[in-house]
């Protein structure tokens, strides 16, 4: 089990050259991965929201007479686990945790990574070296070690997992943001802005940030997905969330103990993880296609 991270390929290596002056409309409906990604992501978000108001039954209270009901049982359409708890209810609450942890980790690392990346790109050589080498060092520490140390010192739980993800993702965010910002800072419009007297902060806020927003959104969705996978891994290993919290990783962990008795138990949370991660990755890919052509400038 390793910590998951989007591959470096997901960072924009260069701005693609698009055919000149093509109207950007028509792109949205034609982008199938964006559509599928949006639908899947929205579906899981909706499920997580609904779980606050309605659950088919309490996912934490054992009902011994309902032990290991098969899928298709009226009232328990995906069946129950070894303690008779409804799978659907558990999946719904699990969606909450997965989204909270994934989005939390991605958001915090996005914020920290953006600050550090912009600082590295825009300040002098010494700050840049310090930040870049610092993130290299952090990247060299396996994420799992960070997570275990944090779990040991703070106790495991959703917050710990978010912190572990933040520590793990921030350095790579920093790198991506730094290189994207450097690309923008090399453009002539930055020189022009300096020539009519704009300062660093203004340039970063009004010129650099809007131009790397696309990269940030795409990276956010990819790290969101990676966060969900990592959370599942940590909970599966028992250093993630615990009952009464439920996560898909925790469900996998519990199902694994019953694998000889009822293998479908592991399928449902696995299926949820795959769909959610797939949805986010498709969304990220789709957004990249939609957002990047606007960034593109002819090199000529």
């Amino acid at each position: 089990m390793t910590m998951n991270q989007p591959s470096p390929m997901s960072a924009p290596a260069g701005v693609p050259i698009s055919p000149p002056q093509r109207k950007p409309r028509r792109k949205l409906p034609r982008n199938a991965s964006l559509l599928i990604g949006l639908v899947l992501t929205a579906l899981f978000l909706a499920i997580a929201l609904i779980s606050f108001f309605y659950l088919p039954s309490n996912p934490n209270i054992p009902v011994i007479r309902n032990r290991l009901l098969p899928a298709g049982t009226p009232g328990h359409w995906l069946g129950t686990d070894v303690l008779g708890r409804d799978i659907i209810a558990q999946l719904m609450v699990g969606a909450r945790t997965s989204i909270l942890v994934g989005a939390g980790g991605a958001t915090f690392s996005l914020i920290l990574g953006t600050i550090a990346g912009l600082a590295a790109a825009a300040s002098g050589k010494i700050t840049d070296e310090a930040i870049s080498r610092g993130s290299d060092i952090l990247l060299a520490i396996p994420g799992m070690v960070t997570a275990l140390v944090l779990a040991a010192t703070m106790g495991s739980g959703a917050l710990t997992t978010i912190l572990a993800l933040t520590a793990f993702f921030t350095p790579s965010f920093t790198r991506v943001i730094r290189s994207a910002a450097m690309g923008v800072l090399n453009e002539d419009f930055i020189t022009a802005a300096k020539l009519y007297g704009r300062g660093k902060i203004f340039v970063l806020a009004r010129h650099v940030l809007p131009n790397i927003a696309g990269v940030m959104i795409v990276q956010f969705t990819l790290y969101f997905a990676a966060g969900i996978l990592t959370e599942a891994g940590l909970s599966y290993l028992g250093v993630g969330v615990h009952r009464p919290s439920i996560s898909w990783g925790l469900m996998l962990n519990e199902a694994q103990q019953q694998v000889g008795v009822s293998s479908p138990l592991a399928i449902w949370p696995g299926f949820a993880i795959v769909l959610m991660v797939l949805g986010l990755n498709l969304l990220g890919d789709g957004l990249r296609d939609v957002l990047d052509p606007k960034l593109a400038r002819r090199a000529s």
């Binding site: 419009f189 020189t191 020539l195 009519y196 010129h207 809007p210 606007k294 000529s300």
Partner: protein, 279 residues
Amino acid sequence: MNRRVDEVHLTPPLLEMRQVTQTYSLSRKSLLGARPTLTVLDKVSFDVRPGEAVGLVGESGSGKTTLTRILTGMEKPRQGHVFYNGADIWAGDGERWRNFRRSVQVVMQNPRSSLDPRMRIGLSLLEPLRSLKIEGDHAARVHEVLDQVGLSRQALERYPHEFSGGQLQRIAIARALMPAPKVLIADEPVSALDVSIQAQVLNLLKDLVNELGLSLVFIAHDLSVVAYTTSRVSVMSAGRIVEVGKPLDLFTRPQAEATRNLVGAILTVEAGLAGNALA
């Protein structure tokens, strides 16, 4: 025309570089050795008078870029001074600096890179006024400048990707004109443009000099383009200005070797058809 050049010469320079030497230190060759330095500009003096169009030519690596950076105040010279209107721009107070910033504007080579793709044209044009805190009727100024560069007002609501290279260069020129500068520095303004568009932009620059009484510093690698636009040309080579003269004199009686090389490198259609262009 010649008479005007002579009259111009009687007035003091508006923007002037005097005896500027610029060196960069390179990385050490050995651990304890001294850092070797690279002299990019060697006691270079350069000036432009009010209403005058001057050119600067030279091969890549001759120091054109550094000279441009110093002339625009992007770099501070190690030695020597830059004067605007007789005052050293690096020695005065904030007010003097702001006046310099406002009065000397730049048009760059690549129009697609010189406008923020996420900013509407209208906002890009207002930026210099806002940044330099110039009071007045901004909307009226925008419309006036659009007329000067021959663009319609519909451009204001659009984004850069909706324009062609030639139109974007007009917009970049418009932005440079916004704070009503006295000096326009154009760094290879047509070399990234389509051939059929180059003449439009060159003619526009010529007209601006004539109609607004602007001073123009035109930097290019192509002597023909510079000769078309300016009345006095400086030739740079290896960090020095090796020759200054009227285009006609440079072409007919080039003195410095660098000038002779540049003149000799010019190809013409007529020589090509006669079969002796490459001789």
